[in-house]
Amino acid sequence: MSLKSPLGRVLGLGTGRGATHHFWVQRVSAVALVPLGIWLLVSLAALPDLAYGTARAWAGEFGHAIALVLVIATAAYHSLLGVQVIVEDYVPQPGRKVVVLVASTFVHVAAAAAGLLAVIKMALGSAA
């Protein structure tokens, strides 16, 4: 018979309470990415070339900038959620799992920050 309190015995054994929300936002972001992703691919494929002037004019257009902001933010969120699921499935060691998840978060936030700031800079720059 353990002297551990009933509460001490069950702590850490329950669910994280975030699973339903995780499931839902992963699917909502997936639905959003269907039109956004297709727009990005078609819009890029329609460019006559990838010369600096062409690409810069494309990214500087206000409508394109809005769509790019939406794509980057939604894709980064969706990707972060997806990588989390894979890591939780294949990295069983608790310590290593946390390290990989935090590293994934940093990479996603850093990529999104760079992409979003670049888009905003080009959108505002072309107006001047």
């Binding site: 992703g37 600096y52 980057i72 670049a118 080009m122």
Partner: protein, 131 residues
């Protein structure tokens, strides 16, 4: 923290390999690939915002044969993940989960992904071909 090890769900190796399992694994793998693609897209946009000289260095890589190969892989991963994702959304709604139906929709996903990738790459060909 609990010291006793928690029960784990059965893992991949206990299942007989199946065609539909391969589809699901490909969905995850292409998802990981698209994560890398998102990082590359953001790097491309950052280089574009940085100016012509930075962009020029990156562009010579993008239009190289290796760059086109990466773009091609990105395009295939994109269409596969999109088509398979729509199939999964349909499954989440409770439709098409019977064995025959799941196998059929899986084939539709593969054919659609390959066809859409082919169309996109044909449209993108000139970007790789012209320096």
């Amino acid at each position: 923290m609990a010291t006793r090890s928690r029960p784990l769900s059965p893992h991949l190796q206990v299942y007989r390999p199946m065609y539909t399992m391969a589809l699901s694994m490909t969905h995850r793998l292409t998802g990981l690939g698209l994560t890398l693609g998102l990082v590359l897209l953001c790097a491309w946009l950052a280089a574009l915002a940085a100016g012509p000289s930075t962009y020029g260095k990156l562009r010579s890589v993008v239009v190289s044969p290796l760059g086109f190969l990466v773009i091609a892989a990105y395009v295939v991963a994109f269409w596969y993940h999109l088509c398979a994702g729509l199939r999964h959304l349909r499954h989440d709604l409770g439709h098409g989960l019977e064995r025959a139906s799941a196998r059929r929709s899986g084939l539709v996903v593969v054919v659609a992904a390959l066809a859409l990738s082919g169309l996109t790459l044909a449209a993108l060909w000139h970007l790789g071909g012209r320096p």
